[in-house]
């Protein structure tokens, strides 16, 4: 009997060991691709970006370590805070600030409207999300021509032909920064409104009911109950926005193509446009610039996230 048990035990152990081996083989087979992809297109790309910053272009796509390896980084630091990149920084920060100051409150109010299921809220939910589905290129083209041709036509039909100067070339052509800004606000509600509204739906109805009994107005209800509840979601959006502020092209490439530089000065656009033209001699400098921005943005993002979550409004 004992021998049978022992044979059984050995068989079970062998099976378990074979199962474990099979598990490990399957695991390795399925993990090879994602790990390899990550190593090549994330680790190696970023490591290469770091190395590029200390190199110089010899010929074609060939790079070698520069005699002064810190020259690119030094130049990038100097340029980043100097007049060369300063206007682009200001442009990106202004665009982000306007989006935050105008877009975020409006997005929150819209979400509140949808959450409260007020008249036509289902319809508005679809309409606000629609620009996220339509290509930004399509909307940008339509918007550009609409601002240049349709809006002046409407203005002159209402206020008479004298309402606009004779050499008026259209709102988009005359005020590119503000129209691009307006466009970014216009198409930017979709996902954020949905997420805010979905987060709001998690509020306990009895809290709202109690506030109503105490005579709270919708505005009071919004600021005292709803806003603290969606604050963590707001922090996620804000931190993501800060983190991507200097890569965000704010649709300048979509609107102006390769001529965006002379119209609206945006850091992310400039960085992308110069890299996409594949001028290899520029790459060490652009890589250095990327490192400089990362050095500044990474700690700012992490610290800001911690501060915002610590000192933000509480539901209590």
């Amino acid at each position: 009997m004992r021998t049978v048990d022992s044979v059984d035990f050995t068989r079970k152990r062998k099976k378990k060991s074979a199962d474990r081996r099979h598990d490990l083989i399957t695991y390795i087979c399925f993990m090879i691709w994602p790990v390899l992809q990550f190593v090549v297109f994330y680790i190696f790309v970023n490591a290469n970006s770091l190395l590029l910053a200390f190199q110089e272009n010899v010929s074609g796509t060939q790079f070698t370590f520069a005699s002064n390896p810190f020259a690119n980084i030094g130049l990038a630091f100097k340029d980043f805070f100097g007049p060369k990149w300063g206007p682009y920084l200001v442009g990106s920060m202004s665009m982000f600030a306007i989006t935050c100051l105008v877009g975020t409150p409006l997005g929150l109010f819209f979400s509140y409207y949808i959450y409260k299921k007020l008249p036509l809220s289902t319809f508005f939910r679809v309409m606000l999300f629609l620009p996220s589905i339509i290509s930004a290129t399509v909307l940008a083209i339509m918007f550009r021509y609409f601002m240049n041709y349709a809006v002046p036509h409407i203005v002159t039909s209402i206020f008479g032909p004298g309402a606009l100067p004779e050499d008026f070339t259209g709102y988009f052509s005359e005020y590119p920064f503000f129209t691009v800004c307006f466009f970014n606000l216009f198409i930017g509600f979709g996902t954020s409104v949905l997420m805010y509204a979905n987060t709001m739906s998690g509020i306990d109805p009895s809290i709202i009911e109690a506030a109503r009994v105490d005579g709270a107005t919708p505005l009071r209800e919004f600021f005292s109950i709803v806003l603290p509840h969606v604050y963590p979601t707001f922090v996620v959006f804000f931190i993501t926005g800060i983190g991507t502020m200097f890569v965000n092209q704010f649709n300048v490439m979509t609107f102006f193509g390769w001529e965006g530089n002379s119209q609206v000065l945006i850091f992310g656009y400039q960085l992308f446009a110069r890299a996409a033209t594949k001028d290899w001699t520029e790459y060490p400098y652009l890589a250095s610039l990327g490192i400089v921005v990362s050095i500044i943005v990474i700690p700012v993002t992490l610290v800001l996230r911690k501060v915002l979550l610590k000192y933000g409004p509480s539901e209590d």
Binding site: F30, S135, T137, V138, T217, A275, G290, V297
Partner: protein, 305 residues
């Protein structure tokens, strides 16, 4: 009966109290938003249906003189692609460009959904230390923004000989990173062990567990993530512009013709707006059929099944 009446009256009173000046202001802003959005699309459609010559002189449309000539010209045109040095790259019809766009969007969406799904399954269900490392790597990459790696990425793609290959972006998008890894991870981790144990007793191997139990259980999430990615890739033009110039997508073509002079049939605003509708229609149709899936399932924590 009287109780129902009282409840209805209370609900009506609540609804009425919610219509404050604040909410009325919101209603007005939202109506203006909708009018603008619909107005822009309708105006663009009318211009796309206006003869190029008529628009050049009048800068508006004529309802009694609408034509489909811009759409017909696009359908019949050949898109000639040349390199920066002027060498011919490819001659394509609009349908071939459409097919390329579809292939690009579908394949990128598929690889960009499949890889996080499979990786998260193994990370969630196989209790190795490496699984934990994978999980934290995805989290850290999401939290730490690295800027300006495009030059290096282009150099790496070039060095690997992948530049201007139709599959370059399928490979680049086949990564485990991003929010959807976490969504799949949490779903797989929350799956009851009983399913897997029972199947194991019946003799199921690792692949059977994966393809016959786990994947069918996340099929709805998989489809939702795939659709979200499909729309995103259908709409983008920059990666094809940088990495696959010989295989233009509709997005890239539209960007190109709207920013550079491309000759007939894209000279003028009505043909460009007509081309916009070629790009616009598939996503709107997709949205019409799946808007509940696309919109209803998004929360900040991920996606509901």
């Amino acid at each position: 009966m009287a109780r129902v009446k009282t409840n209805t009256a209370i609900a009506r009173r609540h609804k009425k109290s919610e219509l404050s000046p604040f909410t009325i202001f919101m209603l007005v802003v939202l109506i203006i938003f909708c009018i603008m959005l619909v107005g822009i699309v309708v105006w663009s459609l009318l211009i796309a249906l206006t003869g190029n010559l008529y628009f050049t002189y009048n800068r508006t449309f004529d309802l009694s003189n609408l034509t489909i000539e811009n759409f017909a010209n696009i359908i019949n045109c050949t898109i000639k692609r040349t390199s920066a040095t002027g060498e011919p790259l490819s001659n394509l019809s609009i349908w071939q460009v459409y097919l390329l766009s579809f292939l690009y969007a579908a394949m990128c969406a598929f690889t960009n959904t499949l890889v996080p799904c499979l990786t998260s399954y193994f990370a969630a269900r196989y209790n190795y230390k490496f699984s934990k490392i994978i999980y934290y790597v995805v989290l850290i990459v999401m939290l730490v923004p690295i800027i300006g790696s495009l030059p290096s990425e282009i150099a790496v793609v070039n060095a690997l000989g992948l530049n201007d290959k139709i599959y370059v972006l399928w490979i680049m998008k086949a990564n485990m990173l991003g929010l959807y890894f976490l969504v799949f991870f949490e779903t797989f981790r929350a799956m009851p062990n009983a399913y897997f144990e029972a199947a194991k007793i019946d003799g199921a191997g690792n692949l059977t567990l994966l393809f016959k139990i786990a994947i069918p259980l996340v099929s709805q999430i998989f489809l939702t993530v795939f659709l979200i990615h499909f729309v995103e890739f259908w709409n983008e033009y920059q990666p094809p512009m940088v990495y696959m110039k010989s295989y233009p997508t509709v997005g890239y073509l539209l960007f190109d013709v709207s920013n550079t002079s491309k000759g007939e049939p894209f000279n003028g605003i009505p043909p460009i707006l007509a081309l916009s509708f070629f790009m616009f229609i598939p996503t709107v149709i997709l949205f019409a059929f799946s808007h509940k899936r696309l919109m209803g399932n998004i929360t900040v924590g991920g996606i509901k099944g």
